[in-house]
Symmetry: C2
Subunit: 190 residues, 2 copies
């Protein structure tokens, strides 16, 4: 068997999430995921440390997209403009074909306290990555940290709205809407 399997990561991710949706996260084994994907366990472990990491695989990529989106914003962009650019930059990771998968992952995480903790941690790291990218643009603290927290809230709120079954808008659209609401809310904080 060739060491390189075309699209192995994506096939494993899809097989895993389909299995979680059908049989529940706890019952699913790595063997079951690899069988469904038509790949070996060895291939699985080249892509994911364990079953749990399948759920969080996207977040590493997201962190990079956020940092790159912030770095690529025009020189004259305000901190919030740069955050908006980052939310737009991540849109590619949230195509309509991803919604059902994202909804399943979100539900699995919500149902397990250890996974919720891991998710909080990943969120904190994502926010820290954004703050660092903003500081690299020359935005000093506390503005950089503050804009990053607002970006993190916009991301979380946008994601929750995007996976709603009734939602038909793109991730970028709902996330930027959430960002606008947050910016408006800053005026009412007193």
């Amino acid at each position: 068997m060739s060491r390189w399997e075309p699209n192995a990561r994506e096939r494993l991710l899809r097989a895993a999430v389909e299995s979680f949706a059908e049989r529940g996260y706890d019952a699913v084994t790595v063997a079951e995921i690899t069988e469904r994907a038509g790949l070996t366990k060895r291939t699985f472990f080249r892509h994911f440390a364990d079953k749990r990491e399948v759920l969080f695989a996207g977040q590493e990529i997201l962190s990079r997209m956020f940092a790159e989106g912030i770095a690529a914003a025009p020189a004259e962009a305000t901190p919030i403009d740069a955050v908006a650019a980052a939310l737009t930059a991540t849109e590619a990771a949230f195509g309509p074909e991803r919604r059902e998968q994202a909804r399943t992952i979100r539900q699995v995480v919500a149902d397990h306290s250890d996974l919720r903790e891991r998710s909080l941690l990943k969120h904190a790291k994502l926010t820290a990555t954004m703050a660092e990218a903003l500081r690299e643009r020359g935005i000093p603290d506390p503005a950089a940290s503050l804009a990053a927290e607002i970006g993190g809230l916009a991301f979380t709120t946008g994601f929750a709205r995007w996976v709603e079954p009734s939602n038909e808008r793109s991730f970028g659209e709902v996330a930027r809407e959430a960002l606008s609401e947050l910016v408006e809310a800053t005026a009412e904080l007193g």
Copy 2:
């Protein structure tokens, strides 16, 4: 030996932190901590799940103080006023006699990636507790979440300034100063 030891928790905390400062966190055992405190291992484990939890013991109490401080703020308080009241309410946990202890704990956490992760997680929970307390005051989202994140940043920044060897101001004073700077920074976010 009596099951109840006067001030056992505080004695164990002090003995643990002194041992960490002298010999390094990794080298210190629970046996060493209890010997130094003149208490039994059994007493230790009634107060702390393990050596690591000594470092985070204060955060549970802090979360409660924050929630109570927010709940007790006057009815007419703005979200930021309520957060300022919460920072003031935690001041009792940060007497001048605590500074050296806090500095040691901060350094131990900074030196260990697993402890940094745990600290991020506790911080996320503290912020979630504040957001919930703000919602219970009738402050809607996103203002409640936003004010809680700002409160979390003010807490972190205030704590970092308070433990600085050159600092002579109270925790409440430096934390409220950090909060004011954050509120000012919201105006520059664009």
